[in-house]
Symmetry: C2
Subunit: 642 residues, 2 copies
């Protein structure tokens, strides 16, 4: 009989003291539950996404010191845990001290070394170095170590052999990416299984939540357990970790797979749990029926968890939200109202002459429905003052002492309004209220920079910036229908045309609004960032000539014909947004607030970008010439972009 | 006789069309100069720092297509150039197509394969993955390839063998990091030299400029050439490349090292050059005397080049600078005035009631000296309006319909002023003027977030944010003494106490100003970020107990005693700044403008960070307890931080 406890703990990144303290509590709890083995997640002492904190030797020593506390606690219980392992005698390729992402196993107060490993810990074999992951920046992989000491990773991969209650157990230890080996030439689990008689596998992970990942993991890990005909314990942490610009929730969802690859136990998402399983009983346990909630329910859960934890992490208790009567700010308000109490939530409506009675009254209705704090701060006076100062105060040319004046165009006035709302009113109100103000941008706006820098793009957190506009609407319905079970977001806000209301050209009562046609552009923009093979205008024009645009983008059929009667109209639209996406929008994203990630690809550290200006490939220009001029090359003088 | 041309070209990152066009021009020029071989820099077709543009298959095909143009141009001349090499049949570890950072060699319109390489190109062996470098994220190294095909990198490393004018030459081809092998277990140049008779080495690079790097490269590369007793041609590009948040200048400084490791030719920094050298004459050529300009001259050159190229890259011709009468904005104004014409440079002074006559008149004097456009926009009226609106407009509690009011404290008023200047006045003036406005923050302020978000921290570029305060002063002197050879920056600005002038507590006429004591804090802050082994409070307290703080920081002796009469004072100061550096300042840096890098470690993509809150190691807390309470642990109830 072997009672195995999965410790789905909440890891505080960068705080080994807190993490070790929590681990000691969970170890005590596991002992009470008569567990023989307790398994903690990857990097549970230091945390995982820490930026370059790994370059502080004092931090590394501290991780070692708390790791030693955990090893000492391994009396009457076997403890498996993740930590950074340091070889102070060796160097990484950056010249800094050698660091491994390691799995430690302690019994009777000392470390158990894997059978063929030159160190008393298991070293992560596969180091992810894509999306938000930077493992190779800091850690030395098992393959690199193998090459250095003149052997192979296959030979070093070996089980932990333990005697527990007089029985011998062989544990196959893996770290996170080791289980996701599809694109690597080496599959650690298969190698371990080929050469050794493994009783059970353990995969300790620090795996950020993204939509659909758990289903994929169950397929991948289930297949591995089944192929090896050996149970697999997947232990993941909960909590929030970030890389500065991009913030990830960790949902835990620690899982036991039996030797047939079936899921027989799952820890609740986003909850700290100590879950015990009798190894001998695994094959007799029934398969767990997986929850089949809609995607938007998962997104709601990730967002509320993420916002709550982020607020706690920065010790922010009060929040100000600028509400316009539009959908994004309404959804943000309804979300935050589930997280902080009404007396700590202040909604601010900031009308100018361009704001309709419709949206002003919808704003008020929303605030009423939420029963929180509400304030109306008109901006016209301040905006007028700014225009007047800029246009009447003289600009002196000091070369000849001549004076002239600036002219404030209506486009400049639009941005002046947006900045007045955020940088003047909201920032001031938030500081006076004792909190921060939110950025309510969605992912479509973020993609093309349809926002004003220091205006509606600012805030302490962009909680909706990884949701496409259609997901924001889905979330509105989900909030009304399921979470609140009443119409907190007035139907008028859902029905109204999306508009910035910054000029008379954006009059909602006349049905005028954003230039973005979300049913098509949401999907076009998604192809620029979320496709594993990123789409560019060349791909779009290729699909256009094939008549497969909607199919490739995943939007409703017929939209291309509906919106773009001619090839020229299609190309003008494509170049307009591509120029923004790869031009001004990058400059704006560089200064954007942190983004809460839920998708397979979020802006920020997950999707790295350089401010290089838009680019069109040669093939694109050829396709365009064919479509517009029925020629193989552009005619002389024809500009490649509109 | 072999005439070798080093093509120190300006690379436009992300624009293969422009780069290939420029290469064809330089190839034609090289032919006119009777060159037999022309060498282009690393990744000269795609550019090097491109973020995740490498994930666009259309972009990769485009790079191949332009590469084919260059190969076809290799008639009557041998062309060596850098480009991405793609194996469409294989995968990287992220599941995307296989990409190598490669050196191609073309002769008679076709590629020449290295002797033992399975591809017709040389693959970069050592892939840097520290600081701003992300090579392993996108490229497969020679070692990984060797392991995949069951051989070793040592065996694959082999020369390009060429017949030119009936003579046989063996070229040892290296890419950038391959020449910086100190911290790797493999030295490509040594391996090549051990097994082959090499006539000359070529190192094609895309090596960003940082202060002192060229001197280090001459030591490292010179020693390698000498050890191999073989000449080495180092070819680097010029231009500007960025990773979004951090912007790098590339200075070229392409260099020929003779077989004794002496520098016998250097291309001018930051200039596009085609520099020809007769291989047979190399040993007869005299050593080049290296320039010994002061560091600040190098910094000035990098900054002006970087600003000029950045403005050109974003097509910005007009610039607005808010000038306060302080040193940072004055240095920014004097720098920009060397780059853009006086009619396109608008200086704006924005006094409130707290701005002294002293600084207002110094601002005007500076503008007069530069002879540019000047405008005074008072902010008091707007700031008063904001305060009045926030304090008098009711906040309604919609739960019970009660009303209350916000209170705007004097601290909140400080930030309201700063935001009013930047987000209201400067952003509006810049838009009306048709340009952007600058961020004038220095590195000390950036380290501890001594700035206001959406206030003085905003702008399109933070050109001084990689300079410590003492370097800003050095630059002021250099501008007056050497560049302008007259007092463009009034001495009063250099002499005045640094102050934000946001409250009466910061009255410059009473000598009151910033809480940062730059002669000490510049160096303290530097230790947090620029030391290869980053310092933390634990290191500082250790040095304090040893009496070696100044020695370790590199600041003037005696400062610790002068500023901090007691251990408690030292610790209070240390924790104050560490809390900011690892707390609020990170939140501010996430939303900061792009930073022009000149140091060995700049903020942004070069120094990655997570918003995790400040942390103090166990050892730190023990040292602190000893110093404050002469005890091994903190007394019960004693807070670990002030």
């Amino acid at each position: 009989m072997l009672n195995i406890a999965m410790a789905q703990m909440k890891v505080s990144p960068g705080h080994p003291d807190k993490n070790a303290e929590r681990m000691l509590q969970m170890i005590a709890e596991a002992k009470q539950k008569k567990a023989d083995v307790i398994i903690f997640p990857e990097m549970c002492i230091p945390g995982y996404l820490l930026g370059d904190t790994w370059e502080q030797p004092a931090f590394l020593r501290d991780c070692e010191s708390y790791g030693a506390d955990i090893i000492r606690a391994a009396e009457g219980i076997v403890i498996l845990f993740g930590n950074v392992a340091i070889d102070w005698e060796k160097k990484n390729n950056d010249g800094r001290v050698r660091k491994y992402n390691a799995l430690f196993c302690a019994q009777n107060g000392r470390l158990i070394a894997p059978d063929n490993m030159p160190y008393p810990f298991i070293i992560k074999t596969l180091l992810p170095n894509y999306r938000e992951f930077d493992d190779t920046r800091h850690f030395f992989s098992l393959q690199k170590l193998a090459r250095e000491i003149g052997t192979t990773a296959e030979r070093l991969l070996s089980p932990l052999t333990l005697d527990i209650h007089g029985e011998r157990y062989r544990i196959g230890g893996l770290l996170c990416e080791d289980g996701w080996s599809d694109d690597y030439s080496l599959t650690p689990l298969t190698e371990l299984n080929r050469h050794h008689d493994i009783d059970f596998f353990v995969n300790i992970s620090a795996s950020p939540y993204t939509l659909g990942k758990n289903e994929k993991r169950n397929r991948v890990f289930g297949a591995e357990a089944k192929a090896a005909h050996t149970p697999l314990f997947y232990v993941n942490n909960i909590g929030l970790q970030n890389n500065g610009k991009t913030i990830y929730t960790f949902d835990g969802s620690s899982t036991v797979y039996n030797a047939n690859g079936r899921v027989i136990s799952v820890c609740p998402a986003y909850e700290e749990t100590l879950c015990c399983t009798e190894l001998a009983h695994i094959d007799a346990l029934p398969e767990v029926t997986q929850e089949h909630a809609p995607s938007i329910a998962h997104i709601y859960r990730a967002l509320t968890y993420g916002i709550r934890e982020f607020l706690a992490g920065i010790h922010m208790k009060k929040v100000v939200i600028g509400i316009s009567g539009g959908i994004d700010s309404a959804v943000a308000a309804a979300l935050y109202a589930k997280i902080i109490s009404p007396e700590n939530l202040l909604l601010v409506n900031m009308p100018s002459v361009f704001n309709s009675k419709t949206t002003r009254s919808l704003s008020e209705q929303l605030a009423e429905n939420l029963g929180c704090q509400y304030m109306i701060v008109p901006i016209q006076e301040s905006v007028d003052l700014t225009k007047e100062q800029l246009e009447t105060l003289p600009v002196t040319n000091l070369a000849d002492k001549s004076a002239h004046h600036l002219h404030v165009s209506s486009f400049v006035m639009e941005n002046i309004q947006a900045r007045d709302r955020s940088a003047r009113v909201l920032a001031g109100a938030a500081a006076a209220f004792g909190g921060g103000f939110t950025c309510n941008a969605n992912k479509a706006e973020t993609t093309v920079g349809y926002s004003t820098l220091y205006g509606d793009q600012s805030g302490f957190l962009a909680a909706l910036a990884d949701l496409w506009k259609h997901q924001v609407y889905e979330l509105a319905h989900y909030l009304n229908d399921t979470i609140y079970a009443r119409e907190v977001i007035p139907q008028g806000i859902i029905d109204i045309v999306p508009s910035a209301e910054l000029s008379s050209a954006q009059n909602v009562d006349e049905g005028k609004g954003d230039p973005i046609r979300y049913p098509y552009h949401d999907y076009l923009f998604r192809s620029f960032i979320e496709r594993w093979q990123k789409a560019t205008p060349e791909d779009l024009l290729t699909w256009y000539t094939q008549g497969t645009v909607e199919e490739n983008l995943g939007c409703s059929p017929g939209l291309v014909q509906k919106y773009f009667p001619t090839a020229q109209a299609f190309i003008e639209d494509l170049e307009r947004w591509w120029n923004l996406f790869s031009g001004m929008a990058i400059a704006k994203r560089i200064q954007a607030p942190p983004i809460l990630a839920v998708s397979r690809r979020a802006y920020g550290f997950d999707h790295r970008e350089a401010q290089d200006g838009p680019y069109y490939t040669r093939k694109y220009r050829e396709l365009k010439a064919k479509l517009l001029y029925h020629s193989d090359t552009l005619p002389t003088g024809a500009s490649p972009s509109f």
